[in-house]
């Protein structure tokens, strides 16, 4: 090997375990906000500690406050001490702090972008990193368009030499199809689609990633993954908390926009998609988009029959009396915003024709829990008699996403003894205890992917628009006077009775979680 003409790092060859991104400057816009302090900065520190932020990397925080680098470092340190979960190593901190810089500016002001440009140039001059830049919009969604436009107009979005410039956008990606299109157009004006990373942190969770691995790395499940064997699918995203202090946001969003349009439909797409031709961003996202395109439209009154919306009243949650949604601070007294949605959808594809997918999400439910459950059809013949058939439950494959990530398979087994009694047993596989190595935090994983340029776990523009097109039908119907109002449900319950009726009408029932 001649070392005179090397173009690739020879020391990375055959290096196991690590996917180390190239050096880059990560620009966090809105760095003093909750997201940056709670999630982004601790995730970046963990990446640094693991050696996944290589030499030459820098983190440039941008916010309105008139801070200098030192004051920013103090803020970061406080955030790490509070949200990291375990202590910050002083010597590691010195190294991490050395890559932290601050740029003061109000991004509604054009001068702020010029200052940002100057600061980036000076940071780059000090530490060469091939001109790689990653912008992270950790700001309120209402500012996205102006900030993206500002970045573009001031020449910050373009490539520099061999370097790349990428942007990470937090959900929500718009609040309806039209606003999503505007956001995508604005992004597309300054960034190539490959350089746009729409982050949905659910997709960074180990079990979500494992849905595809489980399906496609095991030959025994995929043959069953279709309408011939699957009776129905249930996807539940339940939260036990209320809206906390987010009334301003939630009054505009509601459960449909906040959860169904992104998290729930993304889970649906992963469960229902066809195998991609390769496990790469393009093919994986192609297949996910196809699923969303195949969702059977819900037109007008069809929404009333297929979708239940609810709003929590007062009740007991985790043993404490809690207020109703209308009683939450900042919520309009006559608000009809939904805090619960249950729905039955169909995917009109060869694989899933006729299989109902039941989706539900809500706040102030009895527990925090997210899972995808595949319920299989019963055996075609009650071979062991009607009594045994009656006491045997259908096979269920449940993929738990939070809080305990894992997989459960329920199957019937003979109870030892002279008579044939069948009991359903759960074979339980928990990530936390099966593979004790704690998986990376979802943000940690997704930040690393964005730095590596791997967009497999991020939403693509067309996918976002297709999801909005589906959800918009429901929003449109709910604006109609004939549409039923949200039904009240008691805080701490599993939602309004209409949600039970929805599945009961199909002779099915929600899983008891």
């Amino acid at each position: 090997m001649s070392t005179e003409r090397l173009t690739e790092n020879p020391f990375r060859a055959g290096m196991r375990l690590r996917r180390v991104p190239p050096p880059a400057t990560l620009v966090i816009l809105g760095v003093t906000g909750d997201l940056a302090r709670r999630k982004l900065l601790p995730s970046l520190y963990r990446l640094f500690r693991k050696g996944l932020l290589p030499p030459g990397s820098a983190i440039l925080g941008v916010a309105r406050r008139g801070w200098d680098d030192e004051q920013f470092r103090n803020m970061v340190r406080e955030a790490l001490d509070r949200f990291l979960g375990k202590g910050v190593d002083e010597r590691m901190w010195e190294g991490f702090a050395a890559m932290l810089f601050f740029c003061s500016g109000d991004l509604v002001d054009a001068a702020a972008y010029r200052t940002l440009d100057d600061t980036l140039l000076s940071v780059d001059a000090e530490r060469p990193r091939n001109g790689n830049r990653l912008f992270y919009l950790a700001m309120p969604p209402s500012t996205y368009l102006n900030v993206i436009d500002g970045i573009g107009r001031h020449g910050l979005a373009g490539r520099r030499g061999a370097g790349w410039t990428r942007i990470v956008v937090e959900k929500p990606f718009g609040r309806d199809l039209e606003s999503a299109r505007v956001l995508n157009r604005t992004l597309g004006q300054w960034f190539a689609e490959d350089d746009v990373f729409r982050i949905d942190h659910y997709l960074g969770k180990e079990t979500v990633q494992n849905i595809l691995v489980f399906r496609l790395a095991n030959a025994i499940f995929e043959p069953l993954w279709n309408s011939q064997y699957v009776d129905h699918v249930q996807i539940t995203v339940a939260e036990d908390i209320g809206i906390e202090q987010r009334a301003g946001y939630y009054e505009e969003a509601g459960a449909l926009r906040d959860m169904i349009q992104n998290h729930v439909l993304q889970l649906l797409a992963l469960v229902a998609m066809e195998p991609p031709i390769t496990f790469a961003a393009g093919p994986v996202r192609d297949e996910k988009v196809k699923v969303l395109m195949a969702l059977r439209p819900l037109r007008g009154p069809e929404v009333d029959a297929a979708v239940v919306r609810g709003q929590y009243g007062s009740g007991l949650s985790q043993g404490e009396a809690v207020s109703s949604y209308l009683g939450e601070e900042g919520v309009a007294r006559a608000s009809t915003v939904e805090t619960f949605v249950a729905m039955r959808v169909f995917i009109d594809s060869w694989r899933w024709a006729g299989v109902p997918f039941y989706l539900r999400t809500g706040k102030r439910l009895p527990k925090r829990c997210t899972e995808v459950a595949i319920q299989f059809k019963r055996p075609p013949l009650p071979l062991f008699g009607d009594e045994v058939a009656a006491e045997t439950e259908a096979n269920v494959l449940a993929m738990h996403i939070q809080p305990d990530e894992g997989i459960t398979l329920k199957f019937g087994s003979k109870v030892p003894g002279p008579t044939v009694h069948v009991h359903s047993v759960n074979m339980d596989f928990r990530y936390g205890s099966s593979f004790g190595a704690a998986g990376a935090d979802a943000y940690e994983r997704l930040l690393l992917d964005a730095l590596l340029g791997d967009s497999t776990l991020f939403a693509r523009g067309d996918g976002v628009e297709v999801a909005w097109a589906f959800v918009d039908q429901i929003i449109e119907r709910w604006r109609h006077l004939e549409a039923p109002e949200p039904q009240l449900y008691e805080a701490g319950s599993w939602g309004p009775k209409a949600a039970e009726d929805l599945v009961d009408a199909d002779r099915r029932e929600w899983r008891r979680l």
Partner: protein
């Protein structure tokens, strides 16, 4: 300490519990041929207890057979603790072959200790249970230990042979175990003769007829150092430095220094040699020096760097490297480092010539900050700006090292190439290797 007295039938379980571990029944001494029956009994009891507690079944997860050769009770005890922690990531049937080191009370290997345990979830439910069969042997019966392991291997699972000490690579026990092994894991730092041991391990790697892959925990301990080194050259503009390296110095911790009466490299140099082997093999360097030159706490020799379009494809020290090359001096230097175990790296320094010749030379160093476990990358001299990189090089516990290696049951070609070059260096006169007596 585990007591394996020949007539003892009531010893404590070989797996010590922790707050998160629930031991199924008590460890029992049974006839080896009854080990499977005993394990089945433990599982049935556990299942009944779980059902009575309304917890559903217990899950017995086994990813591998982990066969461990433990020379002495102290090693067996350490191994049991490692296996316990290892189960979190790699649940296994562990089969500990224990060379008790006592005179034989009888003939053959007839007994075993059987135990099983589960991790507990936060709710107290039993999750991921594993099992261990410890087979003690005395006196001459030690030679039969491998045959005792065969019946208790779980069929159709990969088998990993972990040998915490220095295996007798030419012995029948190793050979027979090798026949059923998919991956051999050793720790060359724990070899009785670590530097010479690299040469022997290289012999195994060179043997194409072997049916297993080889890994070394001593190599795994270099991960942070390798990643820090690689990190410097992720910036492509620095790649051209690599053709101008004229000296590579690796400083390592050692209990003694080169002021040894036998004038040899100390055993602690084995990890440093593996690092040099990795660095040099990545760059296609070959061994050029005829011997190690010892001076104070340092030993140096030379490596060839090929120039032009030459591609290194021959064994270290082959004639192919002689035509179009220049020399790189390699220096190993020992340093007393109380914080670190002997053998740990202290610093790596590459002296790099200026782009236009001698002027402007600089030193790229990766080293510990003071006596801490934190490493920093630095450049001394006129380079293109400072490099900011810090990493934690704290010693990694043995169970984590082992678990990392078990993530991959396939070959580690980079390790193998690094080992071959390290072994070539270890074989030079002046090392602790075969040249020591010449």
């Amino acid at each position: 300490m585990i007591a394996f007295e020949p007539d003892d039938t009531s010893s404590p379980p070989p797996v010590e519990g922790t707050d998160l571990v629930y031991t199924l029944g008590s460890s029992r001494r049974v006839r080896l041929r009854e080990a499977e029956v005993e394990l089945r009994g433990l599982w049935e009891t556990a299942a009944r207890e779980a059902e009575q507690a309304g917890q559903g079944g217990v899950l017995r997860l086994r990813e591998i057979n982990l066969v461990v050769y433990a020379a002495g009770e102290a090693v067996a005890e350490r191994v049991s603790q490692v296996v316990l922690r290892l189960a979190e990531r790699h649940p296994a049937r562990a089969i500990v072959l224990l060379d008790v080191g006592l005179p034989a009370p009888g003939e053959g290997v007839t007994d075993s200790w059987v135990s099983a345990a589960c991790y507990l979830t936060a709710q107290g439910e039993r999750q991921v249970c594993w099992e261990q069969v410890t087979i003690p042997a005395y006196g001459k019966a030690v030679e039969l230990l491998d045959t005792a392991a065969m019946p208790v291997l779980v069929p159709h699972l990969p088998t990993v042979l972990w040998w915490p000490g220095q295996p007798d690579l030419e012995g029948d026990t190793f050979r027979r175990l090798g026949d059923v092994t998919d991956l051999l894991v050793v720790d060359s730092a724990g070899f009785a003769e670590p530097v010479r041991g690299l040469c022997r391990l290289a012999t195994v790697v060179r043997d194409d007829s072997r049916g297993f892959h080889v890994n070394d925990l001593n190599w795994a301990r270099l991960t942070t150092w390798r990643e820090m080194t690689a990190g410097v050259f992720d910036d492509a503009s620095r790649l051209e430095w690599l053709s101008r390296i004229r000296r590579l110095k690796v400083v390592f911790g050692a209990e003694d220094t080169y002021e040894r009466p036998d004038r040899s490299i100390p055993p602690a140099a084995s990890r440093a040699l593996l690092f040099v082997g990795w660095f040099a093999s990545r760059l296609g360097w070959t061994v050029a020096g005829a011997e190690w030159t010892l001076k104070g706490p340092s030993a140096s020799t030379e490596l060839h760097r090929l120039r032009g379009s030459g591609v290194w494809n021959g064994p270290a020290g082959s004639d192919e490297a002689s035509a179009d090359h220049d020399a790189v001096e390699v220096v190993l230097q020992s340093e007393s480092l109380p914080l670190d175990a002997s053998g740990g790296l202290v610093a790596v320094e590459a002296e790099i010539a200026g782009a236009s010749g001698e002027d402007g030379s600089f030193v790229l160093s990766i080293g510990r900050v003071g006596t801490s476990c934190i490493c920093e990358t630095r450049v001394r001299g006129p380079a293109d700006g400072p490099i900011s990189h810090t990493a934690d090089a704290s010693p990694v516990p043995e169970d984590r090292l082992l678990a990392d290696e078990l993530d991959y049951l396939g070959p580690d070609r980079v390790f193998e190439e690094s080992l071959l070059l390290a072994a070539a260096l270890a074989a030079l006169p002046g090392s602790d290797g075969i040249g020591r007596d010449t």
